[in-house]
Symmetry: none
Subunit: 416 residues, 2 copies
Amino acid sequence: MEAILLAIGDELTSGQTLETNSAWLAQQLAKRGIWVRGHRTVRDDRADIAAALAEAADAAELVLVTGGLGPTADDLTRQGLAQAMGAELVTDDDSLRQIEDFFARRNRPMNEGNRIQAMLPESAEVLPNPIGTAPGIAARVGGSLVLVMPGVPREMRKMFQEQIAPRLANGEKVILFSSVHLAGIGESDAGGILADLMCRSGDVIVGTTASGGTVSARITARGSSLAQAQQRIEQVAGQIRDRLGSKVFGEGEATLASAVGDLLTRRGQSVSTAESCTGGLVAKLLTDVPGSSGYFRGSVVAYDNQVKQRLLGVASGDLEAHGAVSQAVAAAMARGARSSLGTDWALSTTGIAGPGGGSGEKPVGLVYLAVAWEGGTQVFEHRYPGDRETMRLRTALGALDHLRRRLLGPQEARDA
Amino acid sequence: MEAILLAIGDELTSGQTLETNSAWLAQQLAKRGIWVRGHRTVRDDRADIAAALAEAADAAELVLVTGGLGPTADDLTRQGLAQAMGAELVTDDDSLRQIEDFFARRNRPMNEGNRIQAMLPESAEVLPNPIGTAPGIAARVGGSLVLVMPGVPREMRKMFQEQIAPRLANGEKVILFSSVHLAGIGESDAGGILADLMCRSGDVIVGTTASGGTVSARITARGSSLAQAQQRIEQVAGQIRDRLGSKVFGEGEATLASAVGDLLTRRGQSVSTAESCTGGLVAKLLTDVPGSSGYFRGSVVAYDNQVKQRLLGVASGDLEAHGAVSQAVAAAMARGARSSLGTDWALSTTGIAGPGGGSGEKPVGLVYLAVAWEGGTQVFEHRYPGDRETMRLRTALGALDHLRRRLLGPQEARDA
């Protein structure tokens, strides 16, 4: 079975917003053995939407559409679909009641535009939206099944999983994707170590990507059953783990923060952070993980030197002699967090995030990270290139990786 | 003048790689007054590429194509273009020499596939690639100009700037984009207030989007000169500001955190945060802004109740009587941050981020935010729907917006 994906919105065609729904949907369909033939992005124009729907329905049995279901005058997907079907728009009473309920529960007045969200082409079917006001639509255009979802990624994903996925027949071959996530190694070095696995043919394909500060090995496997594809993935993932050792921190949905959380949970230990240049980002990443209250106690974001002294007990002499961005202050911050927050482990960050504040001796990108525990304190110096955002993310991930290696054992900490 | 953008590659249609070239190109074209009508992503298939090229050339005068020019067997853009033109592929001697030079300079053997990179359809023209092996192609399909670039973003951007941009006649009209960012109002309410501005015709188009927790009014203006388009943007932005008043927090690159930073800088005042459920996110958002060390002093992330007591001075009686997620504790946290971090203003957050930890009385999504200043403390109760990530982002943005309104004045704080 083949599919075409259609994304609708002026903010997408103009490039103001990056279109990410189609990439996510393509991966979901691949898992079910449905092959995506192409994507199209169309502006908020009724005639263009109708024409794209008709062309897509000509070219594939399945058409998934996202966007243009909102409550405002520029949302025209409903109208474009009706035109492609040669049908009138009618109000669906159940949908209208659900939208009214949505606003009543939130004590907010309902807008006239929301009434249009309850309309759909005659003979089409409603796909309920439990977390937003825009219901989805299932319809037929020519011989093809057309399924329309909201453009908001969170609502789209929920609707796909709950309403769309159960309607899709599986294709002949199953395709599975998996990712093995790496830390402390660059993409080209990882590519060198995995070169012979990265051939472009056969039922398993390996590639590398770098995204959000993390390098990953991507595995794509086809099989005549889910079990066979899964087994092929597992075999290659095993080879990657063997070659890269402790540089592998997890697979699939794992993050560096969740990997650290798993190790702390296993030991029944706790962690805190003392952050200067990352400004709360390490704590934010740790608390992104559901259940992190089991091991994360808190953090002192000490942007100001007085806060470093008052809440973390950093000596004014260290600040004067070495400056805030120094090995001595990083160590004192980590020890201070450990003692004032009462945790087994503590992480600290201090560095020059830029764009201003750098000097010849201490350039933008210079950072000191420390890990403190009952047995000691270890400080690491790094130079992270890139803009402010990139530097802060790399610093936060670097700090988490140093803690992860220390939690694995002294040998892994040395390899970092 | 209208354009259609075509991106080619299996890794794009399958969703393994996010297609970002088209968004970048659309913005480049808009600056030159060329309107992008739509994007298409096509797999590495000669017939699909030829069909998409023919359809695009039918629909627009200009077609920009990226990808599928590489040296491997799955790169078929050249062949698809030749098929759409009804032309043969011939070798371009200059290109072949340049590719041979490219490898000679790097002391690397040249692959047979690289020889194909020097081929192009008869009557087409070569676009040199100074930083890669794949030359681009300029050709005519029907009455339309088709310009083909490599898919690697770095090579594509350089070729666009050096080879393509100078060939593009500026459209008759210049197109400018701007966004007016809103807080404390939902997208449908904003759409209701701006409904009459959101008509689909004329030289100014207004739309709304919700992205990253922020609702924005997007303005697109055409003009016969940059100054005229700018003036049209400014006129509509003024109308939006008049109607939405203090709900407008900024335009363009502004964020809620940078708006708060501007207000604090103007007053010469400082801020700190005490965070429970947001786990450092408010501090992270504040310190995303370059120069935030001018007003942001630090933060206590108090995930644990003992940290709330020890570092923020929250009374154990309040924690026992009301629980950590309560009006009393939110107020005590903000007051505690203000005094222990020594700032003019302080923000606090405490709530139930989920997925676990909710109860009938205190469900997931319940949050208390407080703002403390010399004159008092104000606490706000909210229920933010959505998953853990969404709830945390809305909480952090809500806290920043309450501070922003209080900084604007008591009247704006009451309207919140």
